[in-house]
């Protein structure tokens, strides 16, 4: 009885808090330049995402979301960072990574993107519950920040992490949408798994051929041979 009262009062606050932490981690990813630190922040973001999914499972009483939570925790929070740091060690790319845009401007653009998603989403979701509204706005911010990271980083591993944090935002949106069928979550996790395998293969091939993971080396080829 007391417990259910507690949920009613705090369900929204806690969900909001967890979502905000996921968003903060996205800013952390944008801010950080060192490879190992970026991987750690990504791992932490995935774990917070797992918490968010578990909390949603609890308050929506939707047990299938626990599965998404576990996938986020073990696969994205533990396995993926492990493989990534192994790759980084193996390829010897510990050094700090150049960004295409300075940290300061990146942060300002990031804040603007968060503002954009709030301004865009809150007016159009008036019929949804407050929980869904805030959650979807946070999720969209994470997606947009993932984009920003992919744009500002020149390194292939960094871009991949940006992409995966974008996926974190998508899953945050999916778990927050009340009653969204499980099919989608499992499939997302599955595609990330496949994607990861792919990325691994790619890294090796790129390593074999280019001696660097810097994307600028790739851009020398424009495909038009005359």
């Amino acid at each position: 009885m007391i417990l259910s009262k507690f949920f009613e009062n705090y369900a929204y606050d806690v969900a909001h808090l967890i979502g905000a932490v996921v968003l903060m981690m996205s800013f952390g990813l944008l801010y950080q330049c060192r490879m190992t630190a970026v991987i750690r922040i990504y791992s932490f973001q995935a774990m917070v995402l797992a918490l968010a999914a578990a909390w949603q499972a609890l308050i929506q009483s939707a047990p299938h979301l626990y599965a998404s939570s576990l996938i986020a925790l073990f696969f994205k929070g533990i396995a993926v960072p492990f493989v990534l740091s192994w790759l980084v060690r193996r390829l010897g790319i510990h050094r700090t990574i150049e960004t295409a845009l300075g940290i300061g401007p990146t942060m300002i653009v990031g804040v603007a993107l968060v503002a954009l998603s709030i301004v865009l989403l809150l007016p159009v979701t008036t019929l949804s519950t407050a929980m869904t509204r805030e959650n979807i706005a946070l999720a969209m911010s994470v997606v947009l920040l993932g984009f920003l990271m992919m744009i500002t980083r020149r390194n292939a591993v960094m871009q991949v992490i940006g992409f995966m944090s974008l996926e974190n935002g998508l899953i945050l949106a999916a778990v927050g949408a009340k009653g969204m069928p499980l099919v989608v979550e499992i499939s997302i996790a599955f595609s990330v798994l496949v994607a990861m395998v792919l990325f691994g293969i790619f890294f090796f091939r790129i390593r074999e051929r280019f001696d660097s993971l810097d994307i600028t080396y790739l851009e020398t080829f424009r495909g038009e041979r005359r």
Binding site: L120, L121, P123, V124, T125, L127, S128, T132, I136, M140, V143, F147, M150, A156, Q159, F163, L166, E167, L170, A173, A174, A177, K178, G179, M180, P181, V183, V184, S187, I188, F190, S191, V194, A195, L198, F202, R205, I206, R209, F210, L218, F221, G223, E224, R225, R226
Partner: protein, 499 residues
């Protein structure tokens, strides 16, 4: 025989088992066959069985479930996909046979290629038959993954770059499409019940008029950008020419002829949802805008291409622009023309890539300037290529002329000003294609290197390679000259469905 009305609904034999099960089984079996001759022909046989299953949909239509359904719209794309899948498998048997003879591919690579070919067909057919917008998304994502693997098959520097670019751009696009799908679900959430049915398209369309319109608007923007990346619409097209140019040619043929159609199909399903909500935005204007930009940019890009496969990749972007423009105009006639153009482009463009594959193998180069006098050195191939390029450029007796003519005339009845950019775009592209074509097929052939002459030998392989090309061209010619009455009625019913 009126095959589309009064279809049998059978519970015993479900064609979907064949259509989806056979390619899936083929993926696994082909991964185990290491003999390259067997693998290539087994690939053909599997595709033929799939085609049989697809054709049987005309007679027996499976029951609609929450996961799969067949209606008048997707049935034609399923058949088209299975058909082009089969003819491309046939072409691939000839093409890959010569590639492996020339020792450009190892046995493992070949095994991988055949397995992925079937996996790719499976994902496309899954996307086309799925009733669940989540499953459609998964299938298109999987299609991206399989094609990335095939595009990087040759493992040259260029192929890896093309595959990487393709993978990153399309994954992000697909991510946006998922966000759009979630937003659509949210717009439906207060109305739809929970569970799998909440994402079933057939359930959603019934109640789409009371979805939240603002969320649907926002969702459509995400879906247009997301699936638009996969269709290759212009600001988002950067991956398309590279992926087409660097992958094996049979894959270029099905990428251009089928995958773009599948992504377009997904977008159209969402457009139908939004169309049935009177308060939501009219998606037409967005589609007209992005269609015009695709037509224009691609048409001008055609002029400066040096690589034969990239030339036709840009031509695909142009045609996708024309198709999306037609659906943007909307109305029965324009939709009819758009559907027809989808089918015609798919047949002609894959035929062109068949020809291009044979040409690059015969001459040993992909550079347009190095290809000369094809009609003299390889008369059948050269003239078939001429006909195919004239068809894609929109010359009268062929099917593409008819669909383009219908698109332009229906645009005139809606808004005459809108027709002008399309006509200019089509004419620009026409000029570019004819200019490039002349250099390649006529003139002094010069000398062909003896090595490449040898690889082109083998009468059996040559006729197998030419057969699908000629088959496609004959079909397009027939449609251009005479469209069967039953087909017209069917196209019109789908066009009405699209609104």
């Amino acid at each position: 025989m009126e095959f589309f009305e009064g279809v049998l609904v059978s519970e015993i034999y479900n064609p979907l088992f064949l259509i989806l099960g056979i390619p899936l089984a083929g993926t696994i079996i082909l991964a185990c066959i290491s003999n390259r001759h067997y693998a290539a022909w087994f690939n053909v046989i599997i595709s033929l069985i799939t085609l049989n299953g697809a054709v049987s949909l005309l007679v027996i239509r499976p029951l609609e479930t929450m996961l799969f359904f067949i209606d008048d719209f997707n049935i034609y794309l399923v058949i088209l996909t299975a058909f082009v899948g089969f003819t491309t498998a046939l072409f691939s048997a000839a093409y890959i046979g010569r590639e492996s003879k020339a020792r450009r591919l190892s046995l493992n690579q070949l095994r991988f290629y055949h397995s992925m070919y079937q996996a790719f067909l499976f994902t496309m057919l899954l996307a086309l038959t799925a009733n669940n917008i989540g499953v459609i998304w998964v299938a298109i994502e999987a299609a991206t993954l399989t094609t990335v693997l095939i595009v990087s098959l040759y493992r040259t520097r260029e192929a890896i770059e093309a595959a990487w670019k393709y993978f990153i751009l399309c994954s992000v696009g697909i991510g946006l499409a998922l966000f759009g799908t979630i937003l659509i679900y949210l717009s439906a959430q207060p109305i739809m019940c929970d569970g799998v049915a909440a994402l079933a398209w057939t359930q959603m369309i019934k109640r789409a008029e009371i979805f939240q319109p603002e969320l649907m608007n926002l969702a459509f923007v995400f879906l247009l950008v997301g699936y638009g990346t996969k269709i290759g619409l212009v600001p988002l097209h950067a991956w398309l020419p590279d992926a087409h140019a660097e992958g094996p040619t049979p894959i270029s043929a099905i990428l251009s002829g089928l995958l773009l159609n599948v992504a377009l199909y997904a977008l159209l399903r969402f457009k139908m949802l939004i169309n049935s909500n009177t308060y939501a935005l009219q998606p037409g204007y967005l589609m007209i805008g992005i269609g015009c930009s695709s037509i224009f940019v691609a048409a001008f890009m055609l002029y400066r291409r040096g690589d034969i496969k990239r030339l036709f990749a840009y031509s695909s972007i142009e045609h996708m622009g024309i198709i999306i423009f037609a659906f943007g105009i909307g109305g029965t006639l324009a939709n009819f023309a758009g559907l027809l153009h989808m089918a015609m482009h798919s047949l002609v463009k894959s035929a062109i890539f068949f020809a291009v594959g044979l040409i690059t193998q015969a001459t040993g180069t992909k550079r347009i300037n190095d290809i000369r006098g094809l009609t003299v050195t390889h008369p059948i191939l050269g003239w078939a290529f001429v006909i195919a390029v004239l068809a894609i450029a929109g010359m009268p007796p062929m099917g593409i002329f008819m669909s383009e003519f219908l698109i332009i005339s229906s645009t005139f009845t809606r808004n005459a000003w809108l027709a002008i950019p399309v006509i200019l775009g089509i004419l620009t592209a026409f000029g570019a294609l004819i200019m490039r074509l002349q250099g390649m097929v006529f003139g002094n052939p010069g000398h062909l290197s003896p090595k490449s002459e040898r690889t082109y030998q083998g009468r059996f392989l040559r006729s197998i390679g030419l057969a699908p090309l000629i088959m496609h061209l004959v079909l397009v010619l027939i449609v251009g000259v005479y469209l069967p009455k039953s087909l017209v009625i069917w196209f019109q019913s789908v066009a009405k469905l699209l609104g």
